[in-house]
């Protein structure tokens, strides 16, 4: 699956850049992420639970940040092993453009799966990967801006946590 898109984030480019390197932002942005540890330099280790219809798989793997060209571009890549399900890996080339105090975030996403997921699920992989990518950047944007007005994010499971982190938690945190 390949997907290119962009979104405008109401935050200055330096802050967006900072957010991209932040472990907690990444943890909240990666859909289904249960655990995230490590650092941008050393790389992160993550545990991600994904559910697609009847399929539920836990992926253990790594998230790395590469090609860092502060504050303009970097590549986020992740790969995880899902036991009997196979593996998933993906990456996003991110480019940040300053736009009068806002930031335009361009991304080219690529995602691949292997093993049983590919063998049995080829028809839904693309759609699902697009959805995940979209959700990642939506979550990322919300970390800076707060949730979009229209609809609450049904995917965020833990109510208590979201309560605390409403309204662009990362932005408030770094600006305070």
């Amino acid at each position: 699956m390949e997907l290119s898109d962009s979104r405008t984030i109401d935050a200055p480019r330096e802050m967006v850049w900072q957010a991209l390197l932040d472990k907690d932002v990444l943890k909240n942005a990666v859909p289904g992420c249960q655990e995230m540890s490590g650092s941008p330099e050393e790389g992160f280790e993550a545990v991600v639970v994904q559910k697609v219809g009847p399929v539920k798989a836990t992926f253990k793997g790594a998230v790395t940040l590469e090609d860092m060209n502060e504050p303009e571009s970097l590549t986020i890549s992740g790969s995880g092993k899902g036991g009997a399900a196979g593996f998933a890996k993906g990456g996003a080339k991110v480019r940040l453009e300053d736009d009068n105090g806002q930031t335009v975030l361009h991304y080219d996403v690529e995602a691949k799966v292997g093993g049983k997921l590919a063998q049995l699920g080829s028809r839904i992989i693309d759609g699902f990967a697009k959805k995940m990518a979209d959700q990642f950047f939506t979550n990322f944007q919300e970390a800076l801006e707060g949730p979009a007005e229209q609809e609450p994010d049904a995917e965020v499971a833990d109510g208590a946590e979201t309560g605390e982190k409403k309204k662009g938690w990362f932005r408030r945190m770094v600006s305070s």
């Binding site: 036991g83 009997a84 691949k112 292997g114 093993g115 049983k116 063998q119 049995l120 080829s122």
Partner: protein, 787 residues
């Protein structure tokens, strides 16, 4: 009329009784007390380096007997390849090692890395999830042409490139063919793909290994088309077990279609592990596992050029094929694109000059080997497609163009090294046109047009080389074994007979048709005759069932052994009747002195053989058991004309097969009912290939069509009733039964007929479409119409 139960009669199958009542004994039905279960951990990447395998957690889990990896197989041989091809420069093909478990690298999705053996299958699977396997993924090699470029990633580091061989046939003709094509009135060119398929016998593969330490004897129960071949390959080349200590049993086998010919790693594993663990070890493939571990079929990419004079007379033919071998060489893989393909490129035509070039290529995919037809469908598809295209380009009716070029005199030596003994291609073509009501097609097409549909009719004529055997021939062609067949006919004292054959039946009905032959020869009821197969401990050496060889080669061995029996029985009868041996005639189960009414029944003779109180002991040994090995002088050459009528829905591109007619010449027929069934099945597989079946990988070498959710198997509602005919008979001249073989014909002749029919329909509908690659699925046909 053939007599009831004899040669030519549509005798009902005796094996059906057990299959219809749930009493068949398939390998998975075999459970040995104390058996453990093996679960194979397979690569989920197409290409990678194995850095480490940590089995410590898995080894300690409940029920786990042992986790095996390549380390346990040090000193054990690789899974061997049984056929050597010499390239056009006189060099041997490149032949990589195919380890039982991956050594250092994985080379296709499904490549086995480790095996967990545990008390139950679920325990083995639980432990498999606890294995920690670290693999660094490497760039996969997938596209054959890219794989041959300089600097391409190599599938095998120890080979010089990804090229297995570059084969030219007949190399001496190369320049003459080039010249003829250059100077021809017209050259029709076609580039096409013969899509990769998965054989998909309905019974997944199973192996059960057992070991008896009291006498160091191994037994392997396996889903095989040729247990003796497995014994030979596994015993001699992989595990080093002498044949007398290794028994291989292939009981009821649920279909093969080629995929159960080969010796597979799982068979060697279970045999090996049973001894290592001192308990029986069983492996049952799941279907999704089968998709990535059974050898695949076809996967050729070809450019074919046909040169003609102004009258459409074929002058020369040149083909350039890339054949995918997959990651390793399966047992017969190198022979498929060469000797089973190049030698058939003359088809039914008198083309004087032919040159075939085949480059066999290693890729990071499942190994490819014979699948129903094996090489011959690939040859027929190219040829019958290019002939059809040529007919359109030349403005000559496709039937007429074929007729102008048919071989009519036999024997006929082709420019591709084989000699057709008999055939009558006009006769099968006539039969096809009659049975398919070809004359009425235009009216039917007009009717379809009224309903908004496009109707088309496509023809293909095929030839195949069957009865794969002639040992001197196949030896020259690179086979590393003789391919004769054997039979032992054991007559019991009371006259009943056990025939032990090296052929194997996995749906072909040998238990019935072979008994018909012996019954006819001796004149006793077929119920007195049992056909025994599938057990190396019971039958003499055998080569098994593939290449439509069972009756032509295995049946001939049985005829020879039965002849020996009859000769000996006549001697005994002569003694009993106090007559000269030359005067004894055998008819309807009784020995008679010619011209007299003196006679002795079969049962009296057989009894005398075993109760030799009144017996010429000085002249003949007691007993009545004979073995014969039969090695024919040539292949057999069945041929036929196939016609397919389709309707295309122009709005959706959906192809509906309205009718399919097959007019074959199989030589003599032993059981027409069984023969027709074989053709039906072949047609379904050929139509499946042409219309819906496709084994697909993504650009990372992930297998996308890895279950019946994505690999389309033909179902009842995809197919019409078939019209099949085998009344055109030119008996084979060199085997005692005059038979040619019928198992693969349907799968060989039908794909080009179907594609030709769809192209015909589209062109009649005004679409300028000259070719669509198989499968002609709705989306592809729609895309072609709208491009």
């Amino acid at each position: 009329m053939p007599k009831d139960g004899g040669i030519g009669s549509p005798t009902l199958r005796r094996e059906d009784i057990r299959f219809l009542t749930g009493n068949g004994k398939y390998t998975d039905d075999i459970n040995i007390h104390g058996q453990a279960y093996a679960y194979f951990v397979r690569s989920d990447v197409a290409h990678g380096t194995i850095n480490s395998i940590d089995a410590s957690a898995a080894e300690g889990m409940p029920g786990v007997a042992k986790v095996f990896t390549a380390k346990d197989f040090e000193g054990v041989g690789g899974v061997p390849c049984g056929w050597q091809v010499t390239d056009r420069f006189g060099e041997a093909m490149q032949e990589p090692k195919h380890p039982v478990l991956a050594e250092g690298k994985v080379r296709h999705v499904g490549d086995p890395i480790a095996v967990v053996v545990a008390d139950t299958l679920e325990q083995a699977r639980d432990a498999a999830e606890a294995l920690d396997i670290d693999i660094t993924e490497l760039e996969p090699v997938l596209n054959m042409k890219d794989a041959l470029k300089d600097g391409a990633t190599k599938v095998h580091d120890d080979l010089t490139s990804n090229l297995c061989y570059d084969w030219g046939f007949v190399e001496e003709n190369r320049e003459a063919v080039d010249e003829a094509i250059k100077g021809a009135h017209h050259v029709t060119t076609l580039e096409l793909t013969n899509n990769r398929l998965v054989a998909n016998p309905m019974e997944p593969r199973v192996a059960v290994g057992d070991y008896d330490s009291s006498n160091d004897e191994h037994t392997l129960y396996t889903t095989s088309q040729n247990p003796h071949v497995i014994r030979l390959l596994m015993g001699a080349f992989v595990l080093g077990i002498p044949e007398h200590k290794l028994r291989v049993v292939a009981p009821d086998v649920g279909g093969g279609f080629g995929a159960k010919i080969y010796h597979y790693a799982e068979e060697a594993f279970c045999t090996f592990a049973a001894k290592a663990l001192k308990r029986p070890v069983k492996w049952t493939s799941s279907r999704s596992e089968a998709f990535m571990s059974d050898a695949h079929g076809r996967d050729h990419v070809t450019k074919i050029e046909l040169a003609m004079d102004k009258d459409g007379k074929f002058l020369a033919l040149r083909t350039d094929t890339h054949a995918n071998m997959g990651a390793y060489l399966s047992t017969f893989a190198p022979s498929i694109p060469t000797w089973l393909h190049g030698t058939l490129m003359a088809g039914n035509y008198t083309t004087p000059l032919i040159y075939v070039n085949v480059k066999a290529v290693f890729t990071n995919t499942v190994p490819v080997d014979a699948y129903r037809g094996a090489g011959r469908p690939e040859a027929t598809f190219q040829l019958e497609r290019v002939v059809d295209k040529a007919a359109r380009e030349m403005g000559i009716d496709p039937v007429e163009l074929r007729r102008r070029n048919f071989i009519t005199e036999f024997p006929y030596a082709t420019p591709v090294a084989v000699e057709y003994d008999t055939g009558d291609y006009h006769a099968t073509m006539d039969k096809l046109l009659e049975l398919s009501d070809h004359a009425g097609f235009d009216a039917r097409a007009a009717e379809s047009k009224k309903n908004g549909k496009l109707r088309g009719f496509g023809i293909a004529h095929y030839i195949e080389a069957c009865g794969i055997a002639p040992s001197n021939l196949v030896g020259q062609l690179g086979a590393r074994a003789g391919l004769y067949e054997s039979a032992t006919v054991r007559v019991n004292a009371t006259g009943s007979i056990s025939v032990m054959t090296g052929s194997h039946s996995h749906g072909q009905g040998h238990e019935t048709s072979f008994a018909q032959v012996v019954s006819e020869m001796i004149g006793i009821d077929a119920s007195q005759i049992d056909i025994v197969h599938g057990d190396t401990a019971k039958s003499p050496m055998g080569m098994g069932t593939y290449g439509s060889r069972s009756l032509a080669v295995g049946g001939s061995a049985m005829v020879r052994a039965t002849e020996k029996i009859i000769n000996k029985a006549k001697k005994i009868a002569a003694h009993l009747l106090e007559a000269a041996e030359g005067d004894i005639e055998l008819k309807d189960g009784a020995f008679t002195v010619a011209g007299t009414d003196k006679s002795v029944a079969w049962g009296d003779v057989t009894l005398a053989a075993y109760v030799p109180h009144n017996y010429p002991l000085e002249d003949i040994e007691p007993g009545l058991e004979e073995t014969a090995f039969y090695d024919p002088a040539n292949f057999t050459y069945p041929s036929g004309a196939y016609g397919c009528e389709v309707e295309v829905d122009p709005e959706t591109g959906k192809v509906t097969v309205l009718g399919f007619t097959a007019a074959d010449d199989f030589g003599n027929i032993v059981n027409p009912m069984i023969v027709e069934g074989q053709v039906h099945g072949g047609l379904a597989q050929g139509i499946g290939q042409a219309m819906i079946e496709n084994c697909a990988y993504d650009d990372q070498g992930q297998l996308l069509s890895g279950s019946y959710m994505d690999y389309a198997m033909p179902r009842a509602d995809d197919l019409p009733m078939f019209t099949v005919d085998h009344s055109s008979v030119t008996p084979c001249t060199h085997n005692p039964l005059g038979v040619k073989g019928c198992g693969e014909a349907g799968a060989i002749g039908s794909p080009p007929a179907l594609v030709n029919a769809v192209i015909d329909a589209l062109q009649r509908g005004g679409h300028d479409v000259t070719h669509i690659d198989m499968p002609l699925s709705s989306d592809r046909v729609w895309a072609a119409m709208n491009s």
